[in-house]
């Protein structure tokens, strides 16, 4: 497979069926940067003067996001929350520190670290047990709180997270399956600082799939934690992602049509729909052959039968 963008058709490193394209390393990096720039512009996420706080975990998405924002020339620092999940947290902390020291520092960016155990007296697993709450829900609450607090207290203009197309499509699927309408409003890639004390939040990777971001991390030699969080085993989000990936394999572009279609509908609310009865009364008339309701002069059934009879007679 060769690059579909290069005039010299260099060997491709990734095929993107949803775009009917394949890219060599350099064209792929350009593609990713363009997708992020497009998301930032379309959803009015950032301005060049903004001080940005990136939420980093040591995983591919957040480290790739920090890297891309710095490459695009934004002023982006990062916050890492050490959750105290044994060797998993130690390893992810080390990866974040490595990127901060070896790449981000050269752009003048700094890393802020919050250690849950230092403030709460226990790690996330122990806290979840004490509070009788699921670990992932405890973790989500702590991370959202700490990121927002750091953004407000340290006067960042906007907080950026590494949520990607798969995250948003899976979340949308979960919300629709359970008709959680209240949560649908929060699925916009830009959430404004709606009240005093809330930081503006943006998701610049929302146009890129999880696989594309992982590939970007590999071609840029970003050292991220491949191991899955031990607490996420069996999570519903992973199940939704697996289902969506099966659909995507059979029908490339499914995830983007699902999520972007939702965003389009959110941006342009439809006029109240005409009732089915009103529409039927406006558009249907009796078939001139059999009398059953139809939008055409002769109904499709009568046309089909007439055609079949004439073919049989021939």
């Amino acid at each position: 497979m060769n690059c579909t963008k290069c005039p010299t058709s260099t060997r491709a490193v990734i095929g993107l069926p949803r775009h009917n394209a394949a890219f060599c390393k350099n064209c792929f990096i350009t593609f990713v940067h363009e997708q992020v720039a497009r998301a930032i512009k379309s959803f009015k996420m950032l301005s060049p003067e903004d001080r940005i706080l990136v939420a980093v975990s040591g995983g591919k998405d957040s480290l790739a996001l920090w890297h891309i924002l710095l490459k695009l020339g934004y002023r982006a620092d990062a916050l890492y929350v050490n959750l105290g999940i044994g060797s998993y947290s130690e390893e992810s902390h080390r990866k974040v520190r490595h990127y901060a020291d070896n790449e981000a520092a050269a752009h003048g960016a700094k890393l802020i670290v919050h250690v849950v155990e230092q403030e709460a007296g226990a790690g996330i697993r122990e806290l979840a047990t004490i509070l009788h709450r699921p670990t992932c829900s405890t973790c989500g609450t702590i991370k959202r709180y700490q990121f927002n607090r750091a953004a407000i207290e340290q006067e960042y203009d906007v907080m950026a997270t590494g949520h990607n197309l798969d995250d948003e499509a899976a979340r949308l699927l979960g919300n629709v399956l359970h008709w959680q309408n209240d949560y649908l409003d929060k699925q916009s890639p830009t959430l404004p600082a709606s009240v005093e004390g809330f930081a503006k939040k943006v998701k610049p990777l929302c146009r890129l799939s999880e696989r594309e971001i992982a590939a970007y991390a590999v071609v840029n030699r970003l050292d991220y934690i491949v191991e899955e969080c031990p607490m996420a085993k069996g999570s519903k989000m992973i199940l939704y992602k697996e289902v969506l990936n099966r659909l995507e394999t059979e029908s490339p572009g499914t995830k983007q049509r699902f999520y972007w279609g939702f965003l389009d509908k959110q941006a342009k609310p439809e006029a109240p729909a005409e009732s089915m009865a009103d529409k039927d009364q406006r558009t249907l008339l009796p078939c001139d052959s059999c009398g059953q309701p139809t939008t055409a002069g002769t109904c499709t059934y009568c046309k089909m039968m007439a055609k079949a009879k004439s073919a049989t007679l021939r």
Binding site: V13, I14, S209, I213, V219, R221, E228, R246
Partner: protein
Amino acid sequence: MLVQLSHPNRQIEVKGPKRTKDLLRELNLVMEAHLVIRGDELVTEDEWLADADQIEIRPVISGG
């Protein structure tokens, strides 16, 4: 070829030559949820993998 898999970490031996997409199909893995890396380079689904290659199949799905 030696194939490195994750979740859990393990290595398996697979007979080559074989196309990337056929290797994934044999292992019942979906391309959309994985990257295939030869040495330290990404390979596309139509690429032929040889017996001497060292391959990593890296999952890309995370809990979110």
